[in-house]
Symmetry: C3
Subunit: 220 residues, 3 copies
Amino acid sequence: MSQGWVLLAIESAAILAFAVSGIAEGIRSRMDAVGLATVGFVTAFGGGTLRDVLLDRRPFVWVERVEYLWLVVALVLAAPLVARRVQRLPAWPLQWLDALGLGLFAASGTALALRADMPATVAVMMGVVTAAFGGVMRDLLCHRLPQLLSDHRPYALCALAGSCVLVGLRQADVPPELALLVAAGTGTLLRMLALARGWELPRIVGRAARAGDRPGRGPS
Amino acid sequence: MSQGWVLLAIESAAILAFAVSGIAEGIRSRMDAVGLATVGFVTAFGGGTLRDVLLDRRPFVWVERVEYLWLVVALVLAAPLVARRVQRLPAWPLQWLDALGLGLFAASGTALALRADMPATVAVMMGVVTAAFGGVMRDLLCHRLPQLLSDHRPYALCALAGSCVLVGLRQADVPPELALLVAAGTGTLLRMLALARGWELPRIVGRAARAGDRPGRGPS
Amino acid sequence: MSQGWVLLAIESAAILAFAVSGIAEGIRSRMDAVGLATVGFVTAFGGGTLRDVLLDRRPFVWVERVEYLWLVVALVLAAPLVARRVQRLPAWPLQWLDALGLGLFAASGTALALRADMPATVAVMMGVVTAAFGGVMRDLLCHRLPQLLSDHRPYALCALAGSCVLVGLRQADVPPELALLVAAGTGTLLRMLALARGWELPRIVGRAARAGDRPGRGPS
């Protein structure tokens, strides 16, 4: 019961964070209202919906609580009022909002997979999918290489860490509400640290490769 | 029963319209037979299949009526015979065919969601997804920015209007067959009007933005 | 029972082949570890998972046998050790590995669809989806036009041939294990032949089209 309440609060906060960051990005790309709504929905609900399809879990959060759909609509309608201010924003407030969504979704995704009796490895993977694939779907829709594959900064790994913390704490019989909060905090803080410190993932092979190589291209 | 019959006729006409418009576009892009079949299938069945996965509804229309798959195959086999004529076609016949599919799918998608006891808001959204996401998947497969996000002409909004009309008429206890036909007509006619009059959606922020901005790019 | 065993062996070999070929391609694109893991998972599990979602079949192979997830992780961790060698590889070893995965997945996908009581046409289509859509998802994630639509060499058609062979043999009451092996061999050998002989699919309309046409673009 109590876990259900904390889980709901976490999922709601994550949806709000991702909806705002998705719509803000749409504003910066100067989309129309339909574009904003599409990008907002996909960023906010894409990861969780993919997780629920994979877990065969129904109803989706946006079916159970239709208010979430109206929330995104309200944000889209409010967009013209704040558009200029959003365009002048520096990058970090949106990145921190995104980090918040990342940590929260990693925790809630893992918890829901554990509830569905998934093995720990699958639960961790579901946490990462919930946290990272809303953004991947947004990037695919907007016709660009997913940041996940291109920016070489830890993103999925922060979600992975949060998910592993949740599984570990649950196996150590830590109360579920506490485990959720600690896991969400771990993922979010790691992402913020990665952003603040400019951490970069090494590529598997250094830059001194053959000339003419283009990242994001296979052997074809 | 009777609603089932009208619904089936509408879904069939929508599939045919989208299959023809998808394959015609593949011909214009000078694809091979596999490309035509892939684009034809995805355009015709993509939106409805996504809707059914989200509604957890089985069997899919193309499993229940395998003839639809053969129809697409037949269209692909006939493609070389009509290819030159299709390439010389002006844009409007394909756009009108697409408008027909849009209105029909918006109505049938909303009706099927209502039948699955979805709330009205979700039913409207399912109508829009059914009508618009076959085209989005086609554009993603063909590696281009979805028209939905790029052409700034009302497309999803016409589907939205048709879906809202269906929900409104059903709540006013209009007979289901009549509601379906009026809703499909509304979506299709609005889209045709939008094309004929050149209606454009306003971007959230005008064109006088910072130089160097490129639409379809986020803050990254 | 015995069919189950052969089916499992075939599915495992296909997953291994596609995981290795996906990760090798990621290495050649000089991705980081997260990129490698994402591309490896999607290439290896994408087609089968899409098939299972469409068939409403659970558990997924990577939930039932979590070892497969660890296998991909192990391959990613081993990547730095072999990266230079992989980059110097000619194209054909990866193409043959991919051909192996193609034939195996076409056979296993069709067999699983038949088991789920799908009509023969749908079963053949599921075989093609299983074999070809892992690669399509990989290409979409890596932000490029799917090879399926762009390289004009028979790929999906080889999978189609293998799937048809399986359906034919099963309808002729050939023992299931034998049918699986013959079907997988057919798909793989046809693909290898197509690569070795340089077979090309004709485009629907010849190259002498209007100047300025770009393949992969619609009329827009």
